[in-house]
Subunit: 377 residues, 3 copies
């Protein structure tokens, strides 16, 4: 029994694509970063990356950089990657481990894993210097189903307000216990919103993804979450297809205790604003989407498997990785073609079809998060 | 008998170069593209490139992109390279052929060669969707002497209003029937206006082009068209020189039925805003000039010959190509030196000499096309 | 006997680092270039580079370029590197020699070594053209202790008003007669101010420069000039150390007639806005700092020795060059980490320690030179 209950489609005739400035203007990107990325829960990756005290993950969001680090008490905390002395970036590598403290590489200001300033050479000579007023600036951190999330600007709703609705939906996939097998990074010359919109429909699949379309016809599924910050649904696998892989056969043992119908489906959810989650019977794939410039986006894609899958002779993760790496590149290419086109003076918002109702819903969620704003053409 | 009748020189003492902002400011380039390139007839290349139905040429103008494509009725039409659905760029390659329709690579919206929407998956489910309201945005196209021209923003005068005066002048060169032998592309780190100004005088030839100056002394000619959007004149070949080639000898049979005087001349015309036309007894060269950034310009240069020239043992196109490729590179280098200099705080408009009267005329034509505008220093 | 008399330290509790915009904003960099670099005496290098008439040095300052050239009368003059005709950059190479005149590579306008226009083809045909009104735009030049300085915008105080106080302080090092042995250029992805601030304290030395710290403990010295455009002091060499070199031994004969205490010291001065001067018993090193972009700086470092040093068997300049090339790269790396950090939304001005009093003084000198100005965050 899955938690999947298709809701009424939310297609509204007359829905149209966003004006071009939303994809090309530096001012809009600055506002995206400020209003959305700095104030939203962003997925940083998997909590299993941080198994021991001092292990950390560094995530860049525009000019900002966040440290997520596991403390001696076992919890993961977040800090701005900025020394309180002269502002130096504290940790340079994207992943690593510190031994007990975070020390600034410039003048050795030293913070414990809870962000408190523990050492600051010569500052004892400064009258009234109060170390407790110079803790690292905190970044909020929460965990959900094995994924780590952070929020640069504190305040606002807890993660559960947005993600609670997903918990029951995905429980049977046992996401919290899955293990990563492979990670691939991509640079795409397109606005981050085009990447998310691309994920939100399979109308393009027959044109762009012939291999995918053979495994899973684009009209085979239904949308599930059709309004709000989490959007998605499922596609059904074609007869005789076991999973979305190069061969069409499953490449690992099932990720969880799945009912029969789930063995014939792939579920696809976009979780505003930076997580794309794809659930298959034998693996889970997720994309993290990081805006870099109006026309540039960095994407990190990772594949997760049952924690014991690698013990099986049948374990062939490259079947899933290879299939999606090919599919990803097809998507990035068409996103780049879209970016080029919407930058043209001739581009005008065009009509969404009923098969693109999620994009219209995504645009609504985006505009609501952005707040009242009219880009200057 | 040539159509060449030199007019009175238009030199006006006191004419000075343009202020530096015209060459360095992003705002001026944006205005150049909007007021001039989008609203002028731009040369796209040769109509002989498009011999069969479905054959196309794609031309970028700043963020815009135009498709020129031959229809089943034999005529060439132009369209903005932007799908009416979600704005995707329809054709990626600069040259190619489609079979009967233009299909968007994203969701397969399909247009016939007249730009009419013929297929749009699932749009039949949209109440009141009218395909006839979703034709490709048209781009005007005209042909002149085998050259294709397009205009992004419809309206304004037909091509003949500007080019009519040239027709009789060049008729004897039989431009319409010439065949291309070679094309070379260049990237120049200078403003597009510096490239056109550089073409408009040979005062620099003794300094920059010693080889050219031996073949054709810079004081040997006269200007012909000295005011307006088409400017130019001729230089006379030195005694014993047959053409502007590496050896100084002709490298192909005459391009047309040329009178004696034309066998001792090279004609050079700049046709506002993007075509440079050089007519020699045995070949014709043209440059297309495409602004990319305030300090970057893409140039495409092509050499045309008599349609039967390649049948001759005497046919040595590399003699012309090699000569001008060397000369082009000398010009691009000095344009880059000019770009660096006019960006300086010390640069002030300087005086044009009588040998630079065409530049002053070109600047006037440019400023008139730009419209009233004061760049902010 | 050295001229060194330590003054009272100028530390003011409460001094804090500059706001982030000063390091990241294009508007601030434009103002830095206009208010500071264009109107200050900038060090261009050594006058010994220009030994004969016609020998020149070209220096870029943002979009500007200055020529410093030795005249037939033996004096060095400065000119904007901009032809008065069409603005072309006259000299392309950073160093070279012209034979008697500076000739524009475009149309051969020709200037004598005093900047007067001596030839301008065809300008004699222009009524009222006055060559004397078309001299090269002058750049002020002064020399101090063998260093050449220039100022793009004429006016303001002579060099001596700023540098006079240094003359007695450094006289015994005989700077005027030293000879260069090596020059190294660097590109740093950090704001120019971070480079100067980095030079102005050795609090970072134990963390960043372990080798340097062994030779010269960071608490071993004292500041000398603690307020104003020239700031600095000395560090003492550890027992048994002869100089700041890879081996810790001197690598050349003494640069001047030095008192005993100077054989155990290194002196470090920053001379606003672009010269860093390091005086050691056996060599002198200087850095020239050239802003390129808000987050990019070009640095040129040169090592000077006693004019007869190369005659000695003991002459091993690579001992000094290698030591500082390593140390330079350590500094540039941390400057780049600082640049990344201060660009973050979480960065706030932080407290300077008493060991960073020169930075606070440097910031004050910088803000005074910049003039009243509030960057927009």
């Amino acid at each position: 029994m899955s938690g999947f209950v298709p809701t009424a489609a939310s297609y509204r005739p007359g829905d149209r694509t966003l004006p071009g400035e939303y994809y090309t203007s530096p001012e809009v990107l600055a506002r995206d970063l400020d209003r959305i990325h700095a104030r939203s829960w962003l997925c940083a990756g998997r909590s299993t990356e941080l198994t021991e005290a001092g292990q950390y993950l560094v995530r860049g969001v525009g000019p900002d950089s966040a440290i997520l680090i596991r403390g001696k008490d076992g919890s993961v905390r977040g800090f701005h990657n900025v020394c309180r002395h002269r502002g130096t970036r504290l940790l340079d590598a994207e992943r690593g481990t510190v031994s007990g403290t975070i020390q600034c590489p410039y003048h050795a200001w030293t913070y414990d894993l809870e962000g408190r300033l523990r050492g600051a050479p010569h500052m004892q000579d400064v009258p009234d210097f109060d170390p407790s007023g110079h803790s690292l600036h905190p970044v909020e951190v929460e965990e959900w189903e094995g994924f780590l999330f952070f929020r640069l600007v504190p305040g606002g709703e807890p993660l559960g307000a947005q993600y609670g609705q997903m918990t029951e939906r995905v429980a049977r996939f046992r996401l919290g216990g899955l293990r990563p097998a492979r990670r691939i990074g991509y640079e795409v010359r397109a606005n981050w919103k085009l990447v998310l919109q691309n994920f939100s429909e399979c109308l393009h699949c027959p044109v762009i993804h012939p291999a995918l379309s053979r495994l899973s016809p684009y009209l085979s599924g239904a949308n599930d979450l059709t309004e709000g910050p989490i959007l998605g649904g499922y596609l059904t696998l074609a007869d005789g297809v076991g999973s979305m892989t190069l061969s069409g056969r499953t490449c690992a043992r099932p990720v969880g205790e799945l009912p029969d119908e789930d063995h014939a489906r792939g579920y696809y959810y976009s979780l505003f604003p930076n997580l794309l989650l794809s659930l298959h019977p034998d693996y889970v794939m997720y994309h993290l989407v990081w805006p870099v410039a109006p026309d540039r986006t960095r994407i990190e894609c990772e594949w997760l498997f049952h924690p014991d899958a690698s013990a099986d002779d049948s374990f062939q993760p490259d079947e899933a990785v290879g299939f999606w790496d090919m599919t990803n590149r097809q998507d990035w290419h068409i996103c780049e073609q879209s970016q080029a086109g919407v930058a043209s003076r001739a581009y005008r918002p065009g009509p969404y079809s009923p098969r693109e109702s999620l994009l219209a819903a995504w645009d609504r969620a985006y505009l609501a998060a952005l707040g009242g704003f009219e880009p200057q053409g």
